[in-house]
Every structure is written in structure tokens, then in C-alpha cells.
Symmetry: C2
Subunit: 734 residues, 2 copies
């Protein structure tokens, strides 16, 4: 009988003396049961062990070549080695290095489905972007449930909480801790490092994280994982009963204090340790009074050092120099530090050695290293990786889905897959992954409460419109950008290189990650609308250029027409040019003469006059005061309203009826449409988008749009009663 | 002393009785040598074995849950088990399954840097696309040098050889074998499977592959790897001395012969084996006379079966039924078969079990399976993965770089990184990854030798121009498309959905994968030009629409102006509209009247008159016969020339001087520019591309362009002597 059979027909549990159980079963095809004695099982174990032995010997012979090539891990400095714990467990550290070398991973050291905790300090827009790449690299390799603990400022909290909520990765929990509340613990420490006060925040983790959390992996945001994080987590089991902090030695000479004349670093054991990757045994640290201990160390050293240079790392190292027994040194491939002139190359000889890459130079990807192309490729892999693909289920580890994901599942199950409009209905309930405030954003609210945000949405093929819009509108802008992960990076490079965009801080860029086959236009509008931070919004499209001065004119009109206390929707009349090169009219007079010359037209004059006919362009030509117009079927003007206006109906995706339905709902809620006599906007020509040409020709698309319209009407009647019947009648009369 | 130390300071070799060697060394930091007796070593081994034991028990306890959940691998059919080799090695197969289960991979079973051989039969455009995704999934996980052996038709050979040559992945060799030459070995077998004759080609591998190749992994093109292929390669070592073919059992019931009434499959052991993944021990097969053996089996079965239904798989199974000892059954996760209604779910309980996914249903990604979303995500990961990122070096396994890659390295080293125009110069020598004939292509050469190909290049933002161009030009087209891997998939979906494009087979689509920061316009033009399969080419840009009938008019003009025997460049006069919606002129007369009305202009009339001034539009208005014009500085007409015309100068990237330099070279080679009196083309308006707006504003860009121009002039003088001085003078006079 063969031991491998255990896994074939499990039917019996055999309990060993040590309390472990072994599942055994017969391999015979006749399925006859076979009772095993404990002795039998032991014999089987011996057989198995011998097989292991055989493999082991093979590994040994193979490792000769590798071992001969590099003295693996041999640059650990003698000074530290001398002061480290010389106890019996010390050997395990090197045994583990051996295990890594021979590629039989620590994985078995982690329980199946064991929850792994990761903590990260993250503040501001840039770190919030960086941390996503770290998270992707962890998720890509992981096979265990994860719990991320983020210490965040308000900005990172908003960004990451909405990101994870919309990401809905199975078996991933996320908790946030307010850095503001923790600041007082470290604010007293003068720090010269570019990370500022957040660089010191890791010192507070024993206090910040829940008191029942016993251990955690702490990571900087500029880390990339090249392996399953469970392998790192497994190292906690190698800690001796005195060790509490797992760290990798620094790969630069900073703490040796010989970099330049008068270079006086904080005290450290030899090269010191890098705090980009830390295994923190929280329960032990709490027990020994870590909080008081590091504080005393810091206070004493600051008397001569005056401030920290490398933030938390200085304090960790000074602390460790005094308490070396607390440290468990990790093999250096757990934190390959890619600054210029580091010894990082000595951490790995083969691709398979690489575990964690740390971009800890301010130069980041432009750092010099023999294998930097390799590292860059790994980094770019995750930077541009479609995060939606990481939503894959950890089957084998059942998990409680989030409320959102349950709602989505239920909604999906209610859909009929054979429905001709299934794709449309599915789109309506889709939850797109969301990265709010992708770039730096700073908006100081206007004092007079008249401020208005331009609200629009776009995909990458309209990006070149942004600079032009910025030149025409100096006020705040809220944009939803529909992009893939790779496109978001393209956008980032574009915005950082643009003279117009890079200094402009009052634009909120909200990335909605692509998913499904339709452009979810109304979802995008709602996201941009929700993120507007002013009392009023100008609901427009990205292929329009507002007249110069529209921003200030709107603010004046908002006061004049008392938008605060009325239900007015201010209509900005829309025009269009079919010419690519347009000299933009400087005034209403100039616009009117261009209209007369045929250089400009009223918007969609040629193809869809109804959309803007109620604006009454004839009246507008001579109007000097605002005038009210009546709603008519298919009216879809661009309007300025209070931010608390109804949202867009997300059932309309792709093209058709997306604005019409919104204007209809404004009318149902008894908004008045008031045309502004001195405002205008002009539609700029562009090639038809991919999507529009794809669907314009499709009869099933038109059929579904009709179905959706009917359902919208029904919903409207339900919501607004008999009054809403007028929309159905108006529609039928057309 | 800890056994793990062996790997830290290797210095001694210890030889065991069985001839194996063990490398031992002291762990002591004092580096004192320590001589070990064989007995010591055995004791160490015992310690090590005990440590292994400890881990093993942990694994065992962990696997209980999994084992209880699913009868892992338990559907192996009794019939086969009974007839399989019952020898002592048989146990290893299941032991290996156990090893896989517990995640301690077979990797140590493969020598460090051992070369792994993979064979694939690949024919036609679609399979050539599919196989790239397979190759990417292998490259992504691999840590060993690879040698791919492709049995190809002419189409796949052209596509894959240029792809791999331009891909330049370190430590990857590629060989091609002509399927045409092998056809006679299998052409006599009637086959009903959709794969046609190529489906049978795997039977010929012992003959097709080099006689010194001893073993190979054979894969279908619809396979995705989720793990390092070395793990699969390692299983060769588990073969008994009788086994020669490693296979996974079928996960469908096809061979059970009970799918429908009168369903009579070929003979097989139980469910039979799937041939999507095969380990072929070539040397053994050759020795036992495999070629004659399968042939005899096939001949005998065909007498009653008449034809194969599942191609090679039927013959493999009939053969195996007669020779079961030759088979080594692989654990079924090495070929998880995703057809509808398969038992594939029984092959894995956890994500980590998944090794190889086989999309062996004609439905491909639309197949039904509980975890299909997971599988799809994995597939999409590689489908859209940036193949350039796989160029990463296998450091640790030194390899001989290809000639191209050496040339590139040398060229790169010659560049000065501090040169202000470094990026430009780098771009010039860049070798972009290339996928020729990305879609179905079939061109039947015209008999009269007057045929002309429209040659152009584009990026994804100009894709919507393609349909319009197709409507204006019925002749052959050669297009270079500059795209990322993900964009190429977007393009594929677009083309497959387009009524205009999907039936059009005379367009060669050549994907040039994105790399670097400039649009390599002249490289793209050269690639499209080289792939033109007609004696003449019309060198144009994708934002122009040719007049209706231009194709036949050009063919007539080619004869009339004797392009075959003269050095003429026929100029097609270019016009432009600034209006997005244009009613395209049906004739020269209509065009002239639109010119007079101001609806059309001569091309770049407003911004760059010089580019086309020498065309002499005034003369053209009334011309009825072709007329010769003289070259002038900055002339950049669109021309028809023989295909053997000079190539474009690839130093010009991005925007500026890319056509000018080409026309200059035509003039230097004494081409005559002859304007066609009844041809015209019209530039359609579009928003400026991303790149152009990025660079138009850059002064360093303009500076570098000037530098490149000067260098081009110098090269021209070198090449064409004093005569070329006129270009420099002309340039200066402007």
C-alpha cells in the first residue's frame, strides 16, 4: 500500500500520541476498508520520510553549484552577530535561509487559511497611489486571507476606504486608524526626513492597532512583493521567546558613519536595520513596555542628535543597539533595498531568491543597480496590473463576503441571463473600482458660499481636452476618468508633464476603473457630482469649452437668481463648431456674428435639434436678462444647479438618454429652467469614440434603450405619481 | 550545530556510499574548519529528517480539512489502475501528488539552470495569437532556460520567428519545424476534428524533433500555466524505466461512450487521456519503435472507426489501451480541462493546487465552471500582460545573448547617457517586439503585376479611421499598429465586431508593441512597407481618405507611367477639411468647387504650406496629364513608388521631418516626382494626439530635431556625395 493514497480516499482519522491526527484510507479499488494500527502508520511515515530524504539529497547536490558561487548571507556584520541572541533558536534563522535557498518554501509553516495582518502608514495623495501597487503585489501572490491595517490621514482614509469598498476583493479585510489621533505620540520628535511626522508613526503601532492583535507585518508604501507574503509571516514562528522585532540589515553604509566628513548617524549595530519591512510581535512588545522604552531611548539620543535623520529608523536602531536580544534578523532578500550604492546585490543570486523589493531611494525607479531593469519590470507589472483581476476568490478558504458584494451577488442572481438586455442591466448594478483624488488636490472653500464646480467625465481618448478646459475655467473641477490601471498611469505621466495641469490643485481626478463593455456615463457623472465640494455644480461634458469668464459669471448669476433658496436650474446655452481650428469667440457679440457666418451652429443643430430647442436660441440672441423656459421632451441642456440635485439614472449606459432622463427628473422635482443671457459654451469636434460607432449601428442596442426608457418612465410614475404621466405622453407625441 | 549551515559556508564535499555528494561546512563564525566523518554526516541527516518530519506532520494535519472536503484525485478509473504498471516506482506517482498537495514543489528535482524543452504545433493566424498567451504564462513563472520547438505552417513560422527575434527574451531558444514536410506522415488519417491535419501532428514529434533531444513537454496552444513549468519537467524523473508518455486523464466522459445513443468513441482506458499536455520521453519512444507502433494501431482502428474524432488524442488512447505500461499518469491539475460538464473541479481544492489550465472547449472563455471567473482572470492576466516585461534576465543562469540583443547592447553602450538627445538616439536603435499578421490575412497576387498596397501606420486613437479607409480603398493594405498588449486585444475585439473589417482579408495588420516614449513613426512605416506583398506601394497616413476609385486609377497610372522601368514617384495631391462632417467629393470637379467654397483646402494650407507647395496645386486644377515637378526643401507629398524604394530614416521619431527626410532621399536617388492629374486624397480632422501636444511645446524636442536633421544631412552627403549638398543649401535658404 502506498502512502500517497492517504489523499485519495480519506475515510479514517488516526490520532497520534502527540495529539495530531492523520487521515488514512485504503487505496484499493475494491473500496474495502482497512483498519490501520498506529504502528502501521508509523511505518508509513518512515517510508514517507525516506522519500523526503531522497529528494533532500538531490537538493543538496544541486545546491553545491549555487553555494560555491556566493557566500550566501555572509555579509551579516560581526558586531551584530556578537551581540545577538546566541540561544538555541538562533540556528533556525539560518535554517530558514537554507530552506529559502533550496526553494522549499516556509508555506507549510502557515496554517491553511490563516489570517495574515499587514500594517502600513499612508498619508496624502501620492502615498495612497503608491500603496495600491504594494497591495496589488501582495494580492497577486497571496493564498491566505489578509487584513490590512492602514494608519492614515484624512486624505488617504477617504481614498483607500472607497477604493477597498469598491474593489471587493474576497478574503481581504481593511481597517483604518486615524493618524491625527496618534500624532501627539511622536510630534515632539524633531525629524529631518522627507516623510515628515508620518515617518515616525510606525513607533505607535502597539498603541494604534487593536490590543488583541498579537503580530503584524509592517511595510513601507514603496515596497513590492515578489512572493507570497505567507512566507514572511511564517518567520514569526522562528522567533525565540525573547525576540519581538524582525528586521533586515541595512544595505547602505549610512549607519557606519563614514559617508562623509562629520557624518554622524544615530547609534546602530553595525549597518543597522532597515524599517521598510518589520515583523512586529505586538503582544511581546506591549508586555515589555516598548512604548516607554523607545521613548526613553529617543529622548536620550535627541539630547545630542537634536533630530532624527531617517525618522523611525533612527529610533528603532538606537533602541535595538541597547536591546539586541529583541531582534530577529531576517534574510536580506526580505527587503532588497534599491538605493544607489547599496549591497543589495549580495542578497540574491537567482531570480527565485527575490522576495521583497524596497524602492527606498528618493530616486525610486531611476536608481542604479545591476538588475534594475528586472526590478522595474516587476514593479511595472503591478503598477499597470488590472486590479479587477485580483478579485479572484480564495476558494479553499471560505470567507464572509462584504455587504456590497452580497448585494451585488443577489442583484446579479435576479437578472435573467437570457434577457436580450442582460448586458445593460448588469452594467447598471456593476460596482466599479474607484480611486478618488488620484492626484494632488487642495481646495479652499470660497467664503461667500457661491462657489461652483465644473463636473464632467471622460476616457483616455478625450484627455487632450483637459488643458483647454483648464484655460477656460479657473474654478474647481470634479472629473470622473474611466480608465484601465495602465491608462491611469499614462494619465498620471501626462498630468505631471503638463505645465497647465501640474500646478493646478483645484481639480479632483477620480479614476473609475474600466469594467464591462459600456461606457457607464451616468455612473461617472454621479461620482464626479458626489465629489464636488462646492454648494453648486455646473453639469457639463468634457468636449465643451466654456466661454472665457463663465466661472465668475456663474457665481454672480447664482447670487442674482438666488439659487440658494430656489429650485432653479441655470441653462448655459450650447453651441458647436464643426471646424477643428476655431478662434474662440471672446464675447456674445462675436459668437452671434460667427453664428451668422456659419462658423458656429447651435448645438446639434444638424442631427438632434430637439435636445436644445427649448433653450430658445432666437430669444437668447437678444436677451439681456435671464428667462424661464418650459421643459419639453428630449430637452438636455447643460445646467448649473445646487449640489443636492437628483443623481443621474445609472441604467443609462453607453450612449442615449443619459442626460435626457436627468433633466426629466429635475422637471419632475419642479426645478425651473432659467436660461442665462450672457453665458455660452461650445462643443469642439472630435472623431467618434470607439464605443459610439460600435453601438450606433446595433439594432439590439436601440431595442434595449427603448426598453430601459419605458422602465424609467414606470419608475418615474411610481415616484412622482400622475404628474409624471406627462413625460410618457410627451415622449409618444414625438 | 545546525544542519541549515551547510548552505552558508560550503567548503567540503562529503561522498556517501551511494555515490551522492553532500556539501558540508562549519557554521561557526570563527570560520574554523571542521572535518566531519561519515557518521557525523549521517547524524546530521537524521536531524534534518526529523525536522522534515516535523513539517510533514504539520502539513498532514493541515491537509485533513482539504482531504475531507474533496476526494482528491479519486476518480482515476479502476480499469486503468488495474492494467497500469504495478512495479515499485508506481508509488512515486501518488507520492508526487502528495508533494504537490502540500506545496513543497518538485522544483528541487530540476537542476539549477537546466534547459527545459517545450514543443507546440501551431498553424495559422489564430493559433499564432493563442500560443503567445501560453508562452507568456510560461515565461512569467519560469526560472529555467527554455527551448521552444514549434511545428508550424508557413504563416505561423513567419509570425512566430519575427516575434521571438524581436522579443529577445534572455535564456529562451526557439526552433521551427516545417509542418509541410511532416504532413505525409499523418495525411493518410481521416480526421473529423476542427484542428484538421495539424491536430494529428503531435504523433510525428519523435521524427520531427532533433534526434538528440531526449524529452520534451508537448502543449496545445489553448493552455495557460499557473506555475513554474519546471515542476512539470521534474516529473520526467518519476518515470519508471518502462514509462515514456506522461498524460492526464480526461475529465470528460467522451471515451466512456455513453454520451448519446450510438456514440462510439475510439478505444481508451476508461475516460482515456487528454493530449493537451504530454510529457514525451522521446528517446525511449524512438527505441521502442513508437512510429511504427502508433501507425499500426491507427491502421487497425481506422478499419472500423473510419476517421478520428479527436485527432491525435484518439490514436494516443487506442495505442495506450494496448500498451498501458508506457503511460505515466500525471496528477490531473496538470491539465485542468475547462469544457462544460467536466470533472475538472475535482482536480483542485485550493488556488495553490492549480498548475495548468486547458481551455479545451470550442467555447473557450465562455465555458461553464464554478471557478471560471478565476480562470478567466488568470488567462486575461497573460493575454494583456506587457510582453516587454518578460524580457527580464534570468540572472543566476548566464546565457548567450542573441546576435540582435548583442548588437542592441553594444549600440546602447555607445550612447552617451548625458546627451540631451539620448532618448531620441535610444529610440532609433530600439528593437520593438513585433507580431506580424495579427489577424487572418489572405492575399492573392494580381496577375498583371500592377498591384499596389496602401501603406500606413497608426495607434489605437486612430482606429476609427480604418473602416472609412476600407470603404475608400478596396486594394491590399499593410498597416503597422503601435499598441500595448492590452490595446492589441482591444483592437482584435473591434476588428472582429466590425462588419467592414471582419470579412476583409487583404489587410495585413502588424502589431508593433509600445516601448519608449516616442511614437516611432518611421520604424512603423518601414515595417508596413516591408510587409507589402505587391510590386508597388502607396505611402500614406491613416488620417487621409483616398478618393473613391483611387486604387484602380493608380493601377492604370502605374502602367501608363511605366513605373516598372522608371524611377518615378507618383504624387497623389493632398487636401484637407477642417470640418468634421464632410460630404466627400465624388470627383475632381466636385473637389475643385469645394476648394472654391472654402469647404476644403490644400493640405496644411494654414500652417505649413511648403510641405506640398511643389505639387503645384494651381497647375493641378487644370491638368489632364501627369506632370513632373521639382523637389524643393520640405517637400513631403504622398507618393506611389516601387516597393524597392529606400526605407524611411528611423532616427526621426515622434513628430517632425519623418516624411521630409524620406522624400529627400528619393530625390537623392534621382526619383522623378510626377503629379497625378486625377488623383486626390483628403485629410480628415482629428484632435491632436497625446504625443504631439506633449512635444510641440518642448524646446529640447525642437533642439534635438535640429541636431538629428544635421546628422541626417551629413549621412546623406556621405552616401550621395557632393550632389547631396543641395539639400543642406536648400534647408539653409528657407
Amino acid at each position: 500500500m502506498d502512502i500517497g493514497c492517504f489523499f485519495l480516499f480519506p475515510s479514517h482519522l488516526l490520532t497520534f500520541a502527540d495529539g495530531r491526527s492523520l487521515l488514512v484510507s485504503p487505496c484499493l479499488s475494491d473500496q474495502q476498508e482497512l483498519r490501520l494500527t498506529e504502528r502501521d502508520a508509523t511505518e508509513l511515515r518512515v517510508q514517507e520520510v525516506e522519500e523526503e530524504n531522497r529528494q533532500l539529497r538531490l537538493q543538496l547536490s544541486q545546491s553545491q553549484a549555487a553555494a560555491a558561487q556566493v557566500q550566501y548571507g555572509s555579509y551579516g556584520n560581526a558586531q551584530w552577530a556578537a551581540s545577538a541572541d546566541p540561544g538555541p533558536e538562533d540556528g533556525e534563522n539560518t535554517a530558514e535561509e537554507r530552506a529559502n535557498r533550496t526553494d522549499c518554501p516556509q508555506r507549510p509553516m502557515v496554517e491553511r487559511c490563516e489570517l495574515i495582518h499587514v500594517a502600513c502608514v499612508c498619508a496624502g495623495h501620492n502615498a495612497s497611489r503608491d500603496v495600491v501597487t504594494l497591495v496589488k503585489s501582495i494580492l497577486f501572490h497571496r493564498r491566505n486571507p489578509l487584513h490590512f491595517h492602514f494608519i492614515t490621514d484624512a486624505v488617504a482614509h477617504q481614498i483607500l476606504s472607497s477604493l477597498f469598498q469598491s474593489w471587493m476583493v474576497p478574503s481581504v479585510q481593511v481597517s483604518f486608524y486615524d493618524a491625527e489621533e496618534l500624532k501627539s505620540n511622536v510630534a515632539w520628535i524633531p525629524n529631518k526626513h522627507y516623510s515628515g511626522i508620518y515617518g515616525l508613526m510606525k513607533l505607535t503601532l502597539t498603541k494604534a492597532l487593536p490590543s488583541n492583535l498579537t503580530k503584524v507585518i509592517v511595510l513601507d508604501t514603496d515596497i513590492t512583493f515578489a512572493t507570497d507574503i505567507a512566507e514572511l509571516w511564517a518567520i514569526f514562528r522562528k522567533f525565540t521567546d525573547k525576540q519581538a522585532i524582525g528586521l533586515v540589515e541595512n544595505q547602505s553604509d549610512w549607519y557606519l558613519g563614514n559617508l562623509w566628513k562629520n557624518h554622524k548617524p544615530w547609534p546602530a549595530l553595525g549597518r543597522g536595520f532597515n524599517t521598510g519591512v518589520i515583523l512586529l510581535l505586538l503582544e511581546r512588545l506591549r508586555r515589555i513596555g516598548w512604548e516607554q522604552m523607545w521613548r526613553l531611548t529617543a529622548e536620550r539620543e535627541l539630547m545630542s542628535m537634536l533630530s532624527t535623520s531617517l525618522a523611525d529608523q533612527d529610533i528603532f536602531n538606537a533602541f535595538i543597539k541597547q536591546n539586541p536580544v529583541l531582534v530577529h534578523q531576517l534574510p536580506c532578500f526580505w527587503n532588497v533595498q534599491l538605493s544607489d550604492h547599496t549591497r543589495s546585490e549580495q542578497c540574491y543570486t537567482e531570480v527565485s531568491d527575490l522576495k521583497v523589493i524596497h524602492w527606498n531611494s528618493p530616486k525610486k525607479l531611476r536608481v542604479k543597480n545591476k538588475h534594475v531593469e528586472f526590478f522595474r519590470n516587476l514593479y511595472l507589472t503591478f503598477l499597470e496590473y488590472d486590479g479587477n483581476l485580483l478579485r479572484r476568490e480564495l476558494f479553499g478558504c471560505p470567507s464572509q463576503p462584504s455587504a456590497d458584494s452580497l448585494r451585488l451577488q443577489n442583484a446579479l442572481e435576479e437578472l435573467d441571463e437570457d434577457d436580450q438586455c442582460y448586458d445593460f442591466r448588469r452594467e447598471r448594478i456593476a460596482l466599479h473600482r474607484l480611486h478618488l483624488y488620484f492626484l494632488q488636490y487642495q481646495y479652499i472653500p470660497a467664503e461667500d458660499d457661491t462657489d461652483v464646480t465644473l463636473v464632467a467625465q471622460l476616457s483616455i481618448d478625450r484627455l487632450q481636452m483637459l488643458e483647454a478646459i483648464c484655460n477656460h475655467w479657473e474654478g474647481p473641477i470634479s472629473l470622473a476618468l474611466y480608465m484601465s490601471d495602465a491608462e491611469a498611469q499614462q494619465f498620471l505621466r501626462y498630468a505631471q508633464a503638463s505645465d497647465v495641469l501640474k500646478h493646478r490643485k483645484n481639480i479632483g481626478y477620480h479614476i473609475v476603473y474600466k469594467e464591462g463593455q459600456f461606457y457607464p456615463v451616468n455612473l461617472l457623472r454621479n461620482i464626479a457630482l458626489r465629489q464636488a465640494n462646492t454648494p453648486y455644480v455646473f453639469l457639463t461634458d468634457v468636449d465643451f469649452l466654456p466661454m472665457y469668464g463663465l466661472y465668475s459669471y456663474l457665481r454672480k448669476s447664482i447670487v442674482q437668481l438666488d439659487l440658494a433658496h430656489t429650485k432653479n436650474a441655470l441653462v448655459v446655452p450650447a453651441f458647436e463648431t464643426l471646424r477643428y481650428r476655431l478662434s474662440f469667440p471672446k464675447s456674445k457679440a462675436e459668437l452671434l456674428s460667427m453664428l451668422d457666418m456659419g462658423t458656429l451652429y447651435t448645438f446639434r443643430y444638424h442631427v438632434w435639434t430637439k435636445g436644445h430647442a427649448p433653450t430658445n436660441y432666437a430669444k437668447w440672441r437678444t436677451a439681456t436678462t435671464a428667462y424661464k423656459v418650459e421643459w419639453e421632451a428630449d430637452f438636455e441642456p447643460y445646467v448649473v444647479v445646487r449640489r443636492d440635485c437628483p443623481e443621474y439614472d445609472q441604467r443609462f449606459v453607453g450612449f442615449g438618454w443619459n442626460k435626457v432622463s436627468h433633466i426629466m427628473e429635475l422637471d419632475a422635482q419642479e426645478y425651473d429652467f432659467v436660461v442665462l443671457p450672457n453665458a455660452f459654451m461650445i462643443h469642439m469636434p472630435h472623431a467618434p469614440s470607439f464605443d459610439i460607432s460600435k453601438f450606433r449601428s446595433s439594432s439590439s442596442y436601440r431595442h434595449c434603450l427603448t426598453t430601459l426608457k419605458e422602465e424609467f418612465h414606470q419608475d418615474l410614475s411610481r415616484k412622482y405619481g400622475a404628474a409624471a404621466l406627462k413625460y410618457l405622453t410627451a415622449e409618444r407625441n414625438i
